[in-house]
Amino acid sequence: MALLGADARRDMEIHRYPLIVYGLVPLLALVLQAWLPRPLGRYAWFDLPLVVTIYFALGRRSPIQGTLMGAAMGIFEDALSHRAIGVNGIAKTAVGFLAASVGIRIDVENFTIRLVLTFLLSLLSSALYLLVYSVLLGFNLEWSWLVQVYIAIGNSVIALILFPLLDRLQVRD
């Protein structure tokens, strides 16, 4: 894992995409996340908006953009649920910021690193969700960490397929 100076790596390897990709990919992720649990039932062990947030945060290496994208995705997911708006928003905001901050400092072109990061950040998102819901809001919530591990694994598998596809959409100089 090569450690570089933050500014040097950021200037070297910022991924740029057509503007339409920034709009369509997150929207597609949100729509599929809302629709796929219907045919898949309780086995919908993935969080596509989180995977997309991690991807763009790692690729863009901009903590502000990562934060904004995470907040938008999380609030959108909260709005589609019946729970309070902001729980997922806070979790994904923090994940977006953290992913972008990590992306500045380490080489995220390596697939293994991407997968490990996706797995860990998925678990972090789940932990933040539980923290906000149970501690900050004081709600009763039954929680299954096993399901959260399945979701983290599912996100990693999706990242394995999705990240190379999205890499092809980059604008190369």
Partner: protein, 413 residues
């Protein structure tokens, strides 16, 4: 100062966004319930509702498109290609409909009697009067939130707190309504609740979901009578679901981890909650049958009447045949003496409704009679009255204690 904002702009943006969301949460969760814990306001404020409306408006057209395409492909396949055994299935279904109509007609009298008794008691049972069929088009996408969206909304008469069912069982209740869609809270969500009753043991409880999205009845005292396989129905006390709708069957009984004396009853849902396509929203409950149900009942009664007529004709034909066939009775035998209670009938006129009066069967003699044997009790009692004090047991009379003569083939062995 400028360098501070530039240097820490990432952190400042993060903190600002987090702070804004925390304030937003505080606004939504400002109410305190009776147990002293904070709870989410069940009715969204205007700002929250607007965000939900926008999110739903963005996602819903795509979901409708995907769902419509899926249905279109399914329809083409089902209607034009996958037609094997359809004729056979159609015949089976027609037979099932005929059978169910007859069963419905036979149960109708009980239902009417129940209605009369309920009106006498001042209790009004609510029947499902009208429903709206809807398609499940999307979900929340979050395993912590078991809600789904249907393609009918306020313009189709959907309102909050309406029950959502399938022919198999209950599904949930309408939580939020938009013009062309509605959000349904499934019964397997943790925040859901429905009053249920176990059919055999008549134990009542509250149905809700757990972290894995499984149905469970909570708040039941440990009871060994509850066994797997017992049917669970709605109890009707929650003002959402009418009484008697199927919920599922008991899957297993587990101990409540938090309270020793209580158990959790895991329920296998009757409806396929994970893969819902079509649902029915109960839009109206009335204390009488709907017009469609009345029409079905009339059809059933007509069919029942025609079947009863057919059975009567069959009986008549068999009687005519029986009269024409040579009888087993001796035509020269003396006529049977009518019993005292029987109404005299005209000679030569058969009355099929009244069975022929048979002479009472002869009591067969017993091998070892005692004082309990027919005919011996009165003698024994008489003897006791004559020779013994009241209440004492006497020996049976030697005359009655003698074995009866064994004459004839029908001796009692």
């Amino acid at each position: 100062m400028e360098s501070f904002f530039v240097r820490y702009r990432n952190l400042l943006v993060l903190l600002a966004i987090l702070l804004a969301q925390i304030v937003g949460l505080a606004v939504q969760v400002r109410r305190i319930n009776s147990t002293g814990r904070s709870s989410l306001d069940p009715h969204d404020g205007p700002g929250v509702r607007l965000i939900r409306l926008w999110a739903e408006a963005i996602v819903s057209p795509f979901e409708r498109g995907i769902h419509g395409s899926k249905l279109g492909i399914q329809d083409i396949w089902n209607d034009y290609f996958d037609l094997r055994n359809v004729r056979r299935q159609n015949q089976d279904l027609q037979q099932t409909i005929d059978r169910l109509r007859l069963e419905q007609a036979s149960l109708l009298e009980d239902a009417r009697q129940g209605q009369r008794l309920q009106s006498l008691l001042g209790f009004q049972e609510k029947y499902i009067y009208s429903t709206v069929a809807a398609q499940a088009i999307g979900s929340s996408g979050n395993l912590q939130s078991h809600v789904f969206y249907i393609d009918k909304g306020s313009l189709e008469g959907i309102k909050p707190d309406m029950a959502v069912i399938t022919p198999d069982g209950i599904v949930g209740k309408v939580r939020d309504v938009f013009p062309h869609s509605a959000q349904v809270l499934a019964v397997n969500d943790q925040s859901s609740g429905a009053g249920v009753i176990l059919t055999t043991t008549r134990i009542r409880g509250i149905l809700r979901g757990n972290a894995d999205g499984q149905l469970m009845i909570v708040g039941i005292l440990a009871d060994e009578r509850i066994k797997p396989g017992e049917t669970v129905l709605t109890a009707g006390g929650d003002l959402i679901f009418p009484r008697g709708l199927p919920v599922g069957v008991v899957e297993k009984v587990v101990r409540d981890p938090e309270r020793d004396a209580f158990i959790d009853v895991m329920v296998k849902p009757a409806a396929h909650l994970d893969q819902l396509d079509e649902v029915l929203v109960i839009t109206s409950l009335q204390p009488r049958f709907s017009d469609q149900e009345q029409k079905d009942i009339e059809t059933s009664e007509e069919e029942k009447g025609s079947e009863a007529q057919a059975i009567k004709d069959q009986l008549k034909a068999s009687q005519i045949n029986a009269e024409r066939l040579p009888g087993l009775t001796d035509p020269n035998a003396p006529p049977a003496v009518p019993t005292a209670g029987a109404a005299p009938s005209q000679p030569g006129q058969a009355n099929p409704a009244e069975p022929t009066q048979q002479p009472p069967p002869k009591l067969l003699p017993t091998l070892h009679p005692d004082r309990f044997s027919p005919g011996a009790a009165s003698t024994a009692n008489n003897g006791a009255d004559a020779n013994s004090p009241v209440g004492t047991t006497s020996k049976p009379d030697s005359q009655t204690a003698q074995p009866a003569p064994q004459n004839g083939p029908g001796r009692n062995l």
